[in-house]
Amino acid sequence: MALNVTDLRVYYRTLRGEVKALDGVTFSVADGEIMGLAGESGSGKSTLAKSLIRLDGRMRHVGGTVELDGAAMPLSDDDAMDEFRFRKVSLIPQYSMSALNPTRKIGRMVGELLDSRGERPDRAELERRLELVGLSKDVLDRYPIELSGGMKQRVVMVVSTLLNPSLLIADEVTSALDVSSQKAVATTLLGFRDRGLVTSMMVVTHDISLVYQIADSIMVMYAGRLAEKAPADVLVTAPRHPYTQQLVSALPEVGVRYEDRRLAGIPGSPPSLLKPPGGCRFRDRCPLAFDQCAEQPPFAEVAPGHLVACWKAE
C-alpha cells in the first residue's frame, strides 16, 4: 500500500470557531493507483490534498495518521515534512501558470531548487522529461513569461515529478484549461504513471467526467467526509451512495438533448462545517433519509474495492 490515511482530521481556525473541513477520513491508495478525488466546493477535497503535502497557516492537524510507503508522515511538523516533500510526495498545484519564479530562467530555477534539496541536477534527464511532455530543451533558457500558459503547466508537471515521487497530488490541474488541453494534461498524467515516474496519483477535481477517463478509482467527498470510493467505472455506472447517484445523474450525457429534458440538480446545499450536524451530513438533502441516518454511517466495504458511507447501501 502506497498511502494509508486513517481517521484524518484537519480543522481551519477562524474567528468564529473551528471549521471541520476534514473530519475523520480513512482510505488508502494502492501502488500504481490513480485515484480521482471528486466533490463540490467546500467538500474538503482540497483540504485533504493540501494536508498531505503542506498545511497552510490556518490549518490544524487535529488527529489521525498518514502513512506513505510504511513511514508515518509528520503532518503538523513543517520542517520534518520537508524530508517527504518533493522526494516522496509531490504536488502539481492549481496555480501552475504562476508557480514559477518570474525573475529566474527556468533551468536555473530548477537547478537551484534541486541544489537546495541536496539533489544533483541531471541536465540530460531533465531534457528527456521535457521532451516527454512535448517541450524542447530551449525552455530551460527562458523566463516563465516567455512561455504560454500550457507550456508553463507542462514545465511544472515535469519539475514536480523530477524526483520520482511515490505519491503525486494533482490539485484541480485541468480547471483553467480548454477541453483539448484538459485531454493533453490527463494523458500526460497517465503517461507519468505508466512510465513509472510516479507510483500513485491523487487527481483532485470537480469534473468527474474528466477524471473518469484516467482514474482507476474515484473517491467522492461530501461536507468533510468520505461518501463513496469505488473503481472508476463502477462509481460512474453503479454508484451506491445517494449523493454520488445524484451527482452522476447531474452530468450531461452525449446524445441527450437537454431542451427536452432538464438536467437534474441536487436540491439544497451542504451544511456549515463550523458546527456540522451529527449523523450523516447528507441527510437533509437525501431522498432516502430515515431515522438511522441520525447516526453516522461507517465507511464500509460493500463489494471488493467499493466503500460507501450509507445505511441504505448494504
Partner: protein, 330 residues
C-alpha cells in the same frame, strides 16, 4: 533594445527642454529687479553715475533685448557651456560658483540615498519575518517617513547640537579652518556632515523599510513561494527569491523618490547652512540672481535625469520582463 533606449532618450530630451525653459522663466517672472539691487549695493550717490551703471549692467546681462531674444541667447550660451555671471557674487561665473557647491551636495545626497535605500530594504525584509520587530518597526517607520526633512533636521540640530553639544549645527567645516588636506580639516568636515546626513538618511530609511516590509510579505504569499515550499525548498532559497522580486518595485520607487530626496537635501542644507546647492538657491532667490538660480536648477535637472536614466538601465538588467517587452513593440 535600441528602440527602447531611443524612446527613453527622446523622453529625457523632451523633459530636459521643458525643464530648462521653465528654469529660464521662473526667475524672470519673479517680482524684483536684480540690476536695481546691484546698484543699491554699489551705493553710488550721483544720479548720472547710477544711470550709466544701470545701462552698463542691463546691456551686460542682456536685459535690454526682447524676451524671445533673451531666451534664444540663453540656449545659445547654454550649448556653449556658458551659464552666465552671478549677480550675487559678481563677477564670478555661475559655473564656478556651482562647481564649488556641488561636492557638498553630492557628499550629502549620494551616501544618504544609497545607504538609506540599501539599509532600509535589508531592514524591512528582516523585520517582515519577525513579529515583535514588525510591531515596533512599523509605527517608527511610518513616523520617520512622514516627518518633513527640515523638521527632523531642526530637531536633530537642537537635540544633538545645542542640548547635547555633540555635533556642530552650521557650516561644512569649522569657521576657524581653511580647506586643506589635513586630519583636522577632514575630521571637522565629517563632524559637520553627520547631522544633515542623518536627517536625510532617517526619513528615507523609514520609507524604504516600510515599502520593503510590505513587499516581502506580499511576495511570501505569492504562488511561486507556495510551490517552492510545497516542494520542500528551504526558507533560505525562498527568502532569496522573495527579496529579489520585492526589490523591483523599490528600484522604481528609487527613481520616483530621487526628486523628493534632492528637494529634501536642499532644505536640509538651509537648516544647517551647509554650503551646497540648496544654500545657493536660497542666496540666489534672495539676491535676485537669475543666472545662479537658473544654473543651479539646471544642474539639479541634469542630475535627476541622469540618475533616472541609470535606474532605467539597472531595471532592465534586474527584471527580465522588461527585456521581453523590448523585443516587440516596446
Amino acid at each position: 533594445m535600441r528602440r527602447y533606449f531611443g524612446r527613453k532618450l527622446l523622453i529625457y530630451g523632451l523633459t530636459f527642454f521643458v525643464a530648462v525653459t521653465i528654469n529660464w522663466m521662473i526667475p524672470r517672472f519673479m517680482p524684483g529687479d536684480p540690476v536695481q539691487s546691484m546698484l543699491s549695493r554699489a551705493n553710488v550717490a550721483q544720479p548720472a553715475a547710477v544711470e550709466a551703471m544701470r545701462a552698463h549692467y542691463t546691456a551686460m546681462f542682456g536685459f535690454d533685448l526682447p524676451l524671445w531674444q533673451q531666451y534664444l541667447n540663453f540656449w545659445g550660451a547654454l550649448l556653449r557651456g556658458d551659464l552666465g555671471i552671478s549677480i550675487w557674487l559678481f563677477p564670478t561665473p555661475v559655473s564656478d560658483v556651482i562647481i564649488r557647491a556641488v561636492p557638498y551636495t553630492l557628499g550629502l545626497l549620494i551616501p544618504s540615498i544609497l545607504l538609506s535605500w540599501f539599509a532600509g530594504n535589508r531592514f524591512g525584509a528582516f523585520a517582515a519575518r519577525r513579529k515583535w520587530l514588525d510591531n515596533t518597526v512599523l509605527p517608527v517607520g511610518y513616523v520617520l517617513t512622514a516627518t518633513p526633512y527640515m523638521w527632523l533636521a531642526i530637531l536633530l540640530a537642537w537635540a544633538l547640537g545645542i542640548v547635547a553639544g555633540v555635533f556642530p549645527v552650521a557650516g561644512a567645516y569649522g569657521f576657524d579652518l581653511q580647506p586643506s588636506l589635513s586630519w583636522g580639516f577632514v575630521g571637522s568636515l565629517a563632524e559637520h556632515w553627520f547631522l544633515p546626513f542623518a536627517s536625510l538618511f532617517l526619513v528615507a530609511f523609514g520609507g524604504w523599510a516600510i515599502g520593503m516590509r510590505n513587499m516581502i510579505i506580499y511576495e511570501l504569499e505569492a504562488d511561486y513561494v507556495n510551490y517552492l515550499r510545497a516542494l520542500g525548498a528551504p526558507a533560505r532559497l525562498v527568502r532569496r527569491y522573495a527579496f529579489r522580486n520585492a526589490i523591483l518595485p523599490q528600484v522604481t520607487g528609487l527613481a520616483l523618490q530621487l526628486g523628493v530626496l534632492v528637494a529634501g537635501a536642499l532644505v536640509t542644507e538651509i537648516v544647517f547652512s551647509y554650503p551646497g546647492l540648496g544654500h545657493l538657491i536660497l542666496q540666489a532667490i534672495q539676491n535676485q540672481d537669475f543666472f545662479l538660480l537658473q544654473g543651479t536648477f539646471l544642474f539639479i535637472v541634469i542630475g535627476v535625469l541622469i540618475a533616472n536614466f541609470v535606474i532605467d538601465v539597472a531595471y532592465v538588467l534586474v527584471d527580465p520582463r522588461t527585456r521581453t517587452g523590448m523585443g516587440e513593440a516596446a
